[in-house]
Symmetry: C2
Subunit: 411 residues, 2 copies
Amino acid sequence: MGLIVQKFGGTSLANAELFHRAAGRCIRAKLEGNKVVVVVSAMGQHTDELVDLAYQITDRPSRREMDQLLSTGEQVSIALMAMAIHHAGHDAISLTGGQVGLRTDKSFGRARIREITERNRILEHLNKGSIVIVAGFQGVDEALNITTLGRGGSDTTAVALAASLGADVCEIYTDVDGIYSADPRIVPDARQLQYIFYDEMLELASLGAQVMHSRSIELAKNYGVTMHVRSSFSERKGTDIVRESSDLQQVIVRGAALKKGLARVELVGAPNRPGIASEIFRRVAEHGVIVDDIIQVIHKGASTADISFTVDKADVESIRALHAEFAREMPGMNMEVRDNLAKVSVVGVGMRTHTGVAGRMFEALHRANVNIENISTSEIVISCVVSADDGDKALRAVHTAFELDHSPAGA
Amino acid sequence: MGLIVQKFGGTSLANAELFHRAAGRCIRAKLEGNKVVVVVSAMGQHTDELVDLAYQITDRPSRREMDQLLSTGEQVSIALMAMAIHHAGHDAISLTGGQVGLRTDKSFGRARIREITERNRILEHLNKGSIVIVAGFQGVDEALNITTLGRGGSDTTAVALAASLGADVCEIYTDVDGIYSADPRIVPDARQLQYIFYDEMLELASLGAQVMHSRSIELAKNYGVTMHVRSSFSERKGTDIVRESSDLQQVIVRGAALKKGLARVELVGAPNRPGIASEIFRRVAEHGVIVDDIIQVIHKGASTADISFTVDKADVESIRALHAEFAREMPGMNMEVRDNLAKVSVVGVGMRTHTGVAGRMFEALHRANVNIENISTSEIVISCVVSADDGDKALRAVHTAFELDHSPAGA
């Protein structure tokens, strides 16, 4: 007898038949002796339709009103899910973010969860034998304004509830079978992982693996919630996202990822004075641009430095605008942009204790005739920036070099 | 400087253009120096679409989940209305029924308002210069379950807010110009009324005039809220619904109404024993059937009585089922149904002090060659049941007989 949180995404709830199918899963878990909490997203394209309605009215909708609007999508889903469970003859009750007391800060559109105040209300319903259905993605601030949690928000709701209720597992039902050693659309022999550690999943999510968003994983890590990512469209077991443990094998490389659509910006001839990098990147951040892989080269004896960094291709225009500002203050500094780049990365907690991973990666890329533009490493990641045209080939080469298509025992 | 509550129905909010038009009205009232509270219904056909979604899932949706679902319709509208007002450069904030603390009883689908707890929150926003937009039709019970108020619920929300805030007027924007002396689709020379008293409006609403539902009028009467019913599609002044006052002319007949789709049920040979009528009508009520115009005829010296009553045509099947039950207990009692009837009525508070109204009505129907099947009267109403085929003709005859096409001074 356990407590399970199940989360169903929008593609798993696109029509009435899919609601009945999802309801069947919840009921099965219940009949197996579990208490079941279900978190749902808005149906299929519903959120997009609501966004479209807003933009029919105005091209700059307020964030507060946008949250008031978008939160109705999940509210529709919880009611329909409760009806689907009732239809099958089982007890269920739907609750909005506000009704479970999912309190957030006031950051409309990207609020962070602070606490869940109505934990006892949920437990009461569970103890009476009801399946409790909670609206994902939404909460309320102190003044009961409705907030939303941003991308991947329903996963975050599910993990927060699992943490608050001490659930045994938080199951994420989605349209893929689980987490793969690499994107199977690019790497045909990519393998579904049986499990992955939180830190590995966090890195892969930020490096281009799009199955999960980082925030829910962070929360799961902080509270030790075991997540299980699996498909709503098959009975296959998915992938566990778990805490590191000596019972589980630490492979050196768990997975590889490819992030496309990158650009490299080079500021050539920046004044070589203290604080210049800090000033430039403060102002880059003010323009809302996220930067990684910064390289600063100071030419020996010269009064200028070259600074290069990688950004999302979509942010290049913001950077150009910023350069125009800089041009007045630092007349000698020129900007060069190369915008057809990609980044291939390998991730694994085993790198903490093993050496030679970088060499093996460089060799694989060299053999595949891929030129490396840039290298960055962290404790459990090695990344190489390559030409966008070489991206897929690079990912396949790295995947093969680390034998990710072979299953290590138990992983 | 006053406080105005404006309510916009679904037909006034069917698309983006209409939202901007409604927003324009709110802003104008604001610029004229008023504090403005706006109550909105769900957009056009939105509620029907939500109902349809529910019935795709199950043919017997729970009332609680139906309310959870339907309340999203008004929540979408408040957000879009706030965006439309922002777009025009004015401050506005949207609030759900829960956010204004509109507390109701637990009767899902037809809840009654108990109090508005967040009156001060509304006033704070008004004092800061915001237009406050409140979701109609919805509230929350003590446990914060979402409830809906049933048909005409947004009008009720508007009147309740007007009462709570001490508004000067509650304006109801709809798709007709106001209240008419009779339905202008049937009576071409029907005249728009400048004002009508609460009791007159209450009777007309229950007798077939479909512009307003009774509950909002009752609430307006209890709290002395002046209502003004007018079109969102024109600048014409509408009709005030007001408290009786010696300043305003008491006409004998204010308006006439026609209720179609009635049936008369005759129970012939019911046992003539004490309590039989009470037993029959208790069980009729248990079947959810609303009855008016009961006639009981006891034949002199006989052991049986004939009981006839009028019901909605749609309820005839329920009555037939009930008769089958009765047949076992009262074997001699037969049932006859005549289901093609209509009821024509005249209403006016002046009837309290004037006689001869009934005679004038009967004469008008007689001259129009309309046979009267049944007559009922109350303090300010006289109704005649006639054949459905004669209904329109009867309404026109009565409208002419009481000179309702002529405007009395000031009315």
